[in-house]
């Protein structure tokens, strides 16, 4: 048999073999798949007990193969107990049963959390999908240096997203959660994020030293009026820049000492709101106001920088009006 004939006969076998090899390689090298089916059977990961939550105890890469659907408000979906865990939601959702309730459900409906990690789990990554409808919170990554990218956390009964210190949250949205939108620990960076229609504050970073950029925070829902909502509350040494905040509750913006605001547009839709306070000092009456620079000098720890753009009835002692 000539070599050419032999090669011709071999081609289909080669093709099949390469396809099989490729599939095997991807399964072996790629992320470990997570699904509702394997969660209930306890076969997603070695040592994982049947049922939710899926417990991730080893560093590595994980990828949703379908939506993870949790049945009761007290169930959590994914519990991370190791550092260096990367979860690609791959466009799928991690869903609890309260999505239909949206912001009408109050914290306490259940104890379920969509994705959570322990405080010692460093460098957890979550990206590309939705975490919705949990009885307690959507995402709670307690360890330092976590990263959330292109995730929507919505219609959870508690907070939408909580991250530990020195975390990075980008291109992410917290929408219609029953608690706060985004809670960030010390020295986190939030960039290109949206936090809207949450019952609680849009962003809370009480431990300070956070950088918040390109935040869009709105609050139109009548349900949120009169509760402990508001816009941004950040501790000392924080920055808020290039952002737009529109809220009903007060304060719209509350920054700790030694903070810096620049190019922030704030709108208090209901008027006469405390649009900005510092260290618990009452804010300024205004209907709509935009800032460029820091806050008035009479508030502890703040020094006016630059000028302020005024619209409406706001009065800001210590500032000059921008030309």
């Amino acid at each position: 048999m000539s070599a050419l004939v032999l090669l011709a006969r071999a081609i289909p076998v080669v093709a099949v073999a390469l396809v099989m090899l490729g599939g095997h390689a991807r399964a072996a090298e790629g992320a470990l798949p997570l699904s509702t089916v394997c969660a209930l059977a306890g076969t997603c990961l070695p040592g994982d007990a049947p049922g939710f939550p899926i417990t991730i105890a080893s560093s590595g890469s994980y990828r949703l193969a379908e939506d993870l659907v949790v049945a009761t408000p007290d169930e959590s979906a994914v519990s991370i107990q190791a550092s260096s865990v990367a979860i690609d939601l791959a466009g799928f959702s991690i869903r609890g049963p309260t999505a239909a309730l949206g912001a009408t459900c109050a914290t306490g409906v259940g104890s379920g959390i969509g994705v959570q990690s322990t405080a010692t789990a460093t460098g957890v990554s979550l990206r590309n999908g939705w975490v919705s409808g949990f009885g307690a919170h959507g995402i709670v990554l307690r360890g330092p240096a976590s990263r959330i990218d292109r995730v929507n956390a919505d219609h959870n009964c508690g907070d939408g997203i909580t991250v530990g210190p020195a975390s990075l949250v980008v291109r992410t949205q917290a929408l219609d959660n029953g608690g706060r939108g985004i809670v960030a620990d010390r020295s986190s960076l939030l960039r290109a994020v949206s936090s809207s229609e949450n019952v609680g504050r849009a962003v809370e970073a009480g431990n300070g030293f956070v950088l918040i950029e390109a935040l869009e925070a709105t609050e139109d829902d009548l349900l949120s009026f009169g509760v402990a909502g508001g816009g941004v509350v950040a501790g000392p040494g924080s920055m808020l820049r290039e952002s737009a905040i529109a809220t009903r509750e007060m304060p719209a913006i509350q920054m700790g000492t030694d903070s810096l605001l620049s190019d922030v547009t704030q709108q208090s839709k209901w008027g006469n709101g405390d649009v900005l306070t510092a260290s618990g000092v009452a804010g300024i009456k205004a209907t709509a106001i935009g800032y460029r620079g820091a806050v008035p000098a009479q508030y502890p720890g703040f020094v006016p920088i630059g000028c302020v753009l005024l619209a409406g009835t706001g009065i800001l002692p210590g500032f000059t009006v921008c030309p």
């Binding site: 260096s84 240096a145 920055m239």
Partner: protein, 317 residues
């Protein structure tokens, strides 16, 4: 049957002989820990670092876990784009000096990404726990990356003016950020500081080390604006001046390199060794800053040219 057996044998031989090129469904070459052990591409030797010798786009599909080596070594002649894809280059260290290599590694060793010649972009993931720098060499752009607990620098650009850094979280690194333009970046608890030609919209806190008065925590040759520098151990913000020159630039005082430093609308507060320090030589504009909690000497506009003035917050040495 015999011919089929021969065909199968030929298949086996072909597969064994051909390099296992990582999947590239959209033209992007994939890199992962498994392929690193045998060589991810033609020309990449088994083990770490994964060597990128061809220009193009690359994407991580798992964490990389280099031990005793760099994660990636980029030396293609042309541009290389690296999407960390949410994954990490994950070294064995924790950034604490006591746990780092006793002898600091040479440039390019134990780095997250090391390179000698090529220009590269990196985005969307983590580099942590490396014994040397997280990023080193000739990065063009660094976007949306968490660099933490590396023993060396977070970013060390050999030609800083060509490196743009955007949306980076640098946390507990043993070194500094040396780049050209730094924007929307946060640096926290790093052992050293940030050096860049232009810095805006960034926050630097709790960085530096005691006794580092000879070097500003944040320094820039050209422009610093809308940046918060607070609670650092050295001086807060140094604008221009011989001590802020970035390698490999060599500038003699009174040359153009040392002129036109700008510091505008920053907040520089609570730093241990002074607030804003302007350069020795001329052309420095310092305007609208606060310095260690107080307005600088002229919050409207100060053009300092060869002046010697020291105040609580603002110094012209």
């Amino acid at each position: 049957m015999r011919s089929r057996g021969k065909a199968i044998a030929l298949v086996a031989a072909l597969v064994a002989a051909s390099p296992l090129v990582a999947a590239a469904r959209d033209g992007v070459r994939e890199i992962n820990h498994a392929c690193a052990s045998r060589g991810c591409f033609s020309g990449d030797s088994p083990g770490y670092p994964v060597t990128i010798g061809t220009p193009g786009a690359y994407r991580l599909t798992s964490n990389l876990e280099p031990i005793g080596a760099s994660g990636l070594d980029v030396h293609a002649f042309g541009r290389v784009d690296i999407d960390l894809n949410g994954f990490a280059i994950d070294g064995p260290f924790d950034g604490a000096s006591a746990n780092c290599p006793s002898t600091p590694p040479l440039v390019g060793q134990l780095a997250g990404i090391a390179n000698r010649s090529a220009r590269y972009r990196v985005r969307n993931g983590f580099i942590r726990g490396m014994g040397g720098a997280a990023l080193q060499g000739y990065p063009d752009r660094v976007d949306d990356v968490v660099l933490h607990e590396n023993c060396g620098d977070a970013i060390y650009s050999i030609i800083p003016r060509t490196t743009a850094v955007h949306g980076v979280q640098a946390f507990k690194n043993g070194g500094e950020i040396v780049a050209g333009q730094v924007h929307s970046t946060i640096a926290y608890e790093n052992s050293r500081f940030m050096r860049a030609r232009s810095v805006w919209g960034s926050l630097v806190s709790f960085s530096g080390s005691a006794g580092a008065a000879q070097s500003a925590v944040l320094s820039a040759d050209h422009f610093v604006s809308g940046t918060l520098v607070t609670q650092n151990l050295g001086p807060g913000l140094r604008v221009s001046g011989p001590q802020t020159l970035l390698p490999p630039l060599v500038c003699i005082p009174h040359t153009v390199c040392d002129a036109e430093g700008l510091s505008v609308d920053n907040a520089v507060t609570g730093n241990r060794d002074g607030g804003v320090i302007a350069g020795i030589d001329g052309g420095v504009l310092v305007r609208g800053n606060t310095a260690n909690g107080a307005p600088d000497v002229d919050s409207l506009e100060t053009i300092a040219i060869d002046v010697n003035l020291t105040s609580t917050g603002l110094q012209f040495p």
